[in-house]
């Protein structure tokens, strides 16, 4: 057992840090410095910068334009990017549909879609959930009717994150209405500019329009946009969900938010002394730090397993569960440390210190972390059944 990075890995980490420091444009750095809010434009600007460096998709194999990094370097790169406060890249292309197309798509699809995901030329969104198919995803009702050389889509997706900015949507559609729930679903790619697609952004408790209702009315999707076998979409759906769950461990974001908590504790005073001097406050911060270290170890163990080619085990199942609660706990800590400044909401700069401006909105929005990517209740059901072998 060994926890240390090799000298080469450490050198790689230094290289990453140095590159981030010089590559981030001043405008983005100013936002990152105070953990402000990155819009889609800023996020895509950073996407393109990373793409030019070849680091936009650390987990993609060389064959498809990835940097061909080993597991440890991938981890180092991802963690350093998150820790730097740089924009978090949109995951829908790079981490969701991209890997799926690599695994299940044909060569034509790979050639058509992957390069534009990498370059950022095309943005994606995820069309899984529907009003009556959330946790029970296999209940999707949006239909894709066979019309010769194309399908005709009718129905509605909901909670579609960033559909209003997306060029493409990947979706689960019912192609066989007679079959049993899971059996009649197909995985389709649909151009958001197609006639009959309508998007309605929804305001969230985080104060931004983070997701949308997406409506489909007689939308034509060419047959070549089917990925994997007809009626075989459920396998793809599950493959992607497993992937999505490890994504949301959010170790780097939690570490970054812990730094923010410490900054608030330093800059906030009570009776002329920083809160950080108060042993009660220090213990609160330390408690979250310990949870984070535990999560990190779980994450390392999952990574080490993956390195040796083991199937993801218990460690990765708990990553989503704990990771989501820890990022929520980090923001809760920040909000608590702010005292009455926690009242602030989307005010002009200067009402509270700049690094406090987005704490409330992020805290509110991140209540979703225990809901999306398979709610924590659903995660627990899975662990109870598949790992503990409890009867269902």
């Amino acid at each position: 057992m060994d926890l240390s990075f090799s000298p080469e890995e450490l050198a790689f980490r230094d290289e990453v840090r140095e590159w981030i420091r010089t590559a981030m444009p001043p405008r983005l750095r100013a936002i990152a410095e105070v953990d402000g809010h990155f819009g889609v434009d800023e996020t895509m600007e950073w996407h393109r910068i990373l793409h030019r460096k070849g680091w936009v998709a650390p987990h993609w194999p060389r064959k498809f334009g990835g940097p061909g990094l080993d597991v440890t370097r991938r981890f180092i790169l991802t963690e350093e990017l998150e820790l730097s406060g740089a924009p978090q890249l949109l995951p829908f292309g790079l981490s969701m549909v991209g890997p799926l197309i690599m695994q299940f798509g044909d060569e034509a699809q790979q050639a058509r879609y992957l390069p534009k995901i990498l370059s950022g030329e095309e943005k994606w969104c995820q069309g899984y959930s529907e009003p009556n198919a959330g946790s029970d995803l296999a209940a999707v009702r949006l239909t894709a009717e066979d019309a010769g050389d194309h399908f005709v889509l009718n129905g509605q997706k909901t909670w579609t994150t960033y559909a209003q900015y997306a060029d493409w949507i990947f979706l689960l559609a019912r192609t066989d209405t007679g079959a049993k729930k899971q059996a009649g679903i197909s995985f389709l790619l649909c151009d958001m500019k197609s006639e009959g697609v309508r998007v309605r952004p929804t305001l969230t408790i985080g104060g931004t329009h983070a997701f949308c209702d997406t409506f489909f009315e007689d939308v034509r999707v060419p047959k070549e946009n089917l990925v994997g076998p007809l009626h075989g979409g459920w396998t793809l759906a599950k493959a992607l969900l497993g992937h999505e769950r490890t994504l949301v461990a959010a170790v780097g974001s939690s570490a970054r938010t812990l730094l923010r908590a410490k900054r608030i504790a330093q800059s906030t005073t009570r009776g002329g002394r920083p809160l950080a001097d108060d042993p009660v406050v220090r213990a609160k911060i330390a408690r979250m730090e310990c949870r984070l270290e535990a999560l990190k170890m779980a994450n390392y163990r999952a990574l080490a397993g993956a390195k040796q080619g083991h199937a993801p085990g218990a460690e990765s199942s708990i990553l989503k569960l704990c990771g989501s609660e820890i990022i929520q706990g980090m923001y809760e800590l920040c909000l608590d440390l702010m005292g009455a400044d926690a009242l602030t909401w989307m005010n002009e700069p200067g009402v509270v210190p700049a690094w406090e401006d987005w704490v409330g909105p992020n805290y509110n929005y991140l209540r979703a972390a225990t809901i999306y990517a398979g709610s924590n209740e659903i995660q627990k059901n899975i662990i109870a059944k598949l790992i503990l072998g409890l009867p269902s």
Binding site: S135, K284, D341, L343, T344
Partner: protein, 379 residues
Amino acid sequence: MNFDLTDDQRLLVDTVTSFVKKESPVERFRKLRDDEEGVGWSRDVMRKFGELGWLAVPFSEDDGGLGGSMVDVALILEQLGAALAPEPFLASIVLGGLAIAHAGDAAQRARWLPDVIAGDKTLAFAHLEEGSRYDAHHVSTRAERTGTGFRLTGRKRWVLNGHAADAIVVVARTSGDVGAREGISLFVVDRGAPGVQITTVRTMDGHRAAMIALDGVEVGAESLLGTEGAALPIVERVLDGATAAACAEGLGLMTQSLQRTRDYLVDREQFGVKIGTFQALQHRAVDMFVETELTRGTTILAALRADDPDPLQRMRGVSVAKVQLARGGRYVVQQAIQLHGGIGITDEADVGLYFKRMHVLESLFGDEDWHLSRVSSPG
């Protein structure tokens, strides 16, 4: 021991409940919130509160009030909280109004309270400062004597209703160093007085508040409330009353969050069944219920103790209740969102409104740590 409401109190609860049901559904709050031009609440509705006598409840009959107790105030605020009615009952009555009632002389009370009780005018109470955290004695705003009165200089933060109030009760220091318990005084300052600079700010719950700069504001001697330099006990009493009131409002938020979540569990189907059949969710709802009932008890404690002549009893009872609200209230509003799934994250769902208001109440008048330290201090 007796937890029964009197006939009058039952009548009060009934009138408040039926009024808000008819005239103040949650949609009314949304409209006021989204109206960028407005102050976030309705002057007409505040006047109606006045006509119904609610604004008179805690004031003595000599001052034109009803001589009610903090329990009566709590009963009103619980129902206003449940309806998310944004009118400044807490700021104008429990904070500003009671500060004048407790500290002011007959002339000062006669000058302000009748209009406030009628709902024609509203007040605010400016105590928080940068670096004060929640300590009432941390006051750096200064009031220096002039020939005819005082000159006030300083900055106040997060003044509830400060953006709309006709007058602001300001906590200022007439002597001593920042942090000293002596030397604190109360002044009523007209919103239009030269040197008063009011900046409206938005708060998480969709209300507005004010950051107030006092830049050499000249006030007459008649605006000093009570004895110069001896106001801290009154300030602490007023803040404890407001804390009890916040607990009552929070209880209303919890009750509604629980109710709506229960209804959703009964309504929503996944996997071919009502999600309320899942035991994991049943237990969660039960935990929400338990926290709500515990908070109901501690809110009664706080309301009774808020009027206790013994400050130690008062502080302890109020702090116990605020700690329970901080834990239990937060748990309930967080779980309300969780059990609603995706829809709980939208602004359209009412549970989010209760969630945000709860966080504001938690951040006011002392957070959990501050009240824990009061409970743990020997007195």
